[in-house]
Symmetry: C2
């Protein structure tokens, strides 16, 4: 079997039912009205079921920011020039970018990954060097990549999880992206899966105007009409209208799920990757948390399809893993809520009759 196939087959179909039941019972017995900590209680129970304990410790946290370039940028879909992709990878490696600052606040380490940047990074640069090719092709003219490259991009993400764990077991993984133009392939991915009209799914990325938005919609429609990706074949969608970093983002989710690591995805691009992962292996969803509701309108449709609710809505539209990093603190907190809030019995408070 290929690495991709092995990884998918290693994902458990079900979380620990005993830990889940014990978590729910403890949450009900804590000295507070049942369910009064809302979504945080659900998160804490699921983390307990993933880890098989009521005292989960999310100590070793990583955010991996996958980068790739996009041939479709030559169609004028982004405000920023493509040269910003490698510049930002250098910024991540230097520690001064948004995801570094927010990740640091969450107690997570951040490492970028070159999956398909159109630039040669120095081998000593402290990033994951996993280049599959120098950016995708322009999908309005040819497929973004071959099916084999799509598989390799996913396997790059799987390998990254393995390499992180070779150092020390990972307790929580966050996913993030960098790639000028990558809201365009991400929107194409959800359009291909859902069959919904492109105009209904397309947002303004880093801030394009009305005319540029109309162009972006036309570009995505053109790519979908040209290649007719099969909505039942995630690899077909990824290869025809996806992105190299999107494949790696799917691989991060699959690799984490196969190793029993909870994984939290970021905005539109990370969620496109997570969607591909869960379409390939539905059980991966048990390990997946979706962090924030992006300003990008296609994001909500991805969440619907995943059947997962985002935790926060802070009007982010940045990517990099910034939303995932913010939510890492909430997942960490959820573990403390379950383990540390005392029960009625423990503290001698009168429960409801």
């Amino acid at each position: 079997m290929s690495l991709l196939e092995t990884t998918i087959s290693n994902i458990r179909k079900e979380l620990d039912p005993a830990a889940l039941a014990a978590a729910k019972e403890r949450l009900c017995n804590q000295a507070k009205p049942p369910g009064s900590l809302g979504i945080m209680e659900d998160i804490s129970a699921r983390l307990a079921a993933i880890k098989g304990t009521l005292d989960v410790r999310l100590t070793n946290k990583w955010i991996v920011t996958c980068a790739g370039d996009h041939g479709v940028v030559e169609e004028g879909v982004s405000l920023f020039p493509a040269e910003v992709t490698p510049q930002m990878v250098l910024n991540f490696a230097g520690g001064g970018a948004s995801v570094n600052v927010i990740g640091n606040h969450a107690g997570a380490r951040v490492k970028a990954a070159d999956i398909g940047v159109n630039y040669d990074f120095a081998p000593a640069l402290p990033i994951f060097h996993k280049k599959v090719r120098y950016g995708t092709a322009n999908f309005t003219k040819e497929p973004a990549m071959t099916r084999q490259e799509a598989i390799r991009s996913i396997e790059a993400g799987i390998e990254i999880v393995r390499e992180l764990e070779a150092e020390a077991p990972v307790d929580l993984l966050g996913t993030g992206d960098m790639g000028i133009g990558n809201t365009t392939p991400s929107t194409a991915v959800i359009a291909a899966f859902s069959g919904l009209p492109v105009a209904k799914l397309t947002g303004r990325g880093t801030g394009i105007d009305d005319a540029a938005l109309a162009n972006k919609i036309a570009v995505i429609e053109k790519g979908l009409a040209l290649h007719e990706p099969d909505p039942k074949d995630p690899l077909d969608i990824l290869s025809k209208v996806g992105g190299l970093e999107i494949g790696a983002l799917a691989g991060l989710v699959l690799g984490a799920a196969a190793r029993g690591i909870p994984v939290i995805c970021d905005g539109l691009i990370s969620t496109a990757g997570a969607l591909i992962a869960c379409e390939l292996a539905p059980a991966a969803r048990n390990y997946l948390f979706v962090s924030h509701k992006s300003v990008e309108i296609g994001h909500t449709y991805m969440h619907h399809r995943l059947g997962l609710e985002p935790l926060i809505d802070l009007k982010f539209r940045l990517g990099e893993g910034t939303g995932a990093a913010v939510c890492m603190e909430l997942l960490d907190l959820a573990t403390r809520i379950l383990a540390d809030i005392k029960t009625f019995e423990e503290v001698g408070v009168t429960n409801i009759e």
Copy 2:
């Protein structure tokens, strides 16, 4: 002048305009699309304007959980018996309650305050001992308290801020509440200010059923009809249909604002207190952050009246300061976003043309 009057007169009418402008400029020059960190950027700019610096440090954080009992509980408005109020105060002092766990995660210290609990706590118990009376009267029969007691409850909150600062300057204050039955007076407060129908504002508190909800609405309507509180006189509203801890929660906001301390309020009850504070002293709003959107429906109307947007919606309905505690981490993060994310120039990334 009274302590209340002095405090109100000490609140600056305007935040530091130079720091605000410098913060906005830096946020625009950071290597990310302008505004892409959404609400967090607004928060970071306001904190800079409050503190007069772009490198705000929220080190000394406190959550004060104000407790009081409510005579109106005898009308059957709550699932839990009134004896839970003092039991939970003991739980806060012991460190095992929800707000302790969440506050601890946020790096904040938590201290409860007895403003009007119907119980004699041992003088050595590590809480603020500020009892104004042993619970309010049942407002369906007589005013909840006298006007003088209402002023004293507010001044108790002001004194607490002063006492905290006597130890060390407070960088961020969170407010929380405990008081069985206190969603009833809090809903009465917003109904009295807004004139909106009580049924439109009333939620299920800790989880009452349909019949109990109808009773709760009738109880609030009865109190408002009996006392006709003056919507232009916050002290009249507080004394007739409010609560002792609600007064202290208003005092915390006023005391913090007068000392230039950012203050973050919690759910329905804390926000009722914040509303009274801002109706007494509109400039207090500059220092106020509203944390979460409670499941309680009256909460949204309070936010509308304050003109402030809650940061998160995690379906909390607990109180104690739990929502404020969660959001303290976000305010802390906002300071790092402003100070630590590098500019395009600093990291050599190409900006939009």
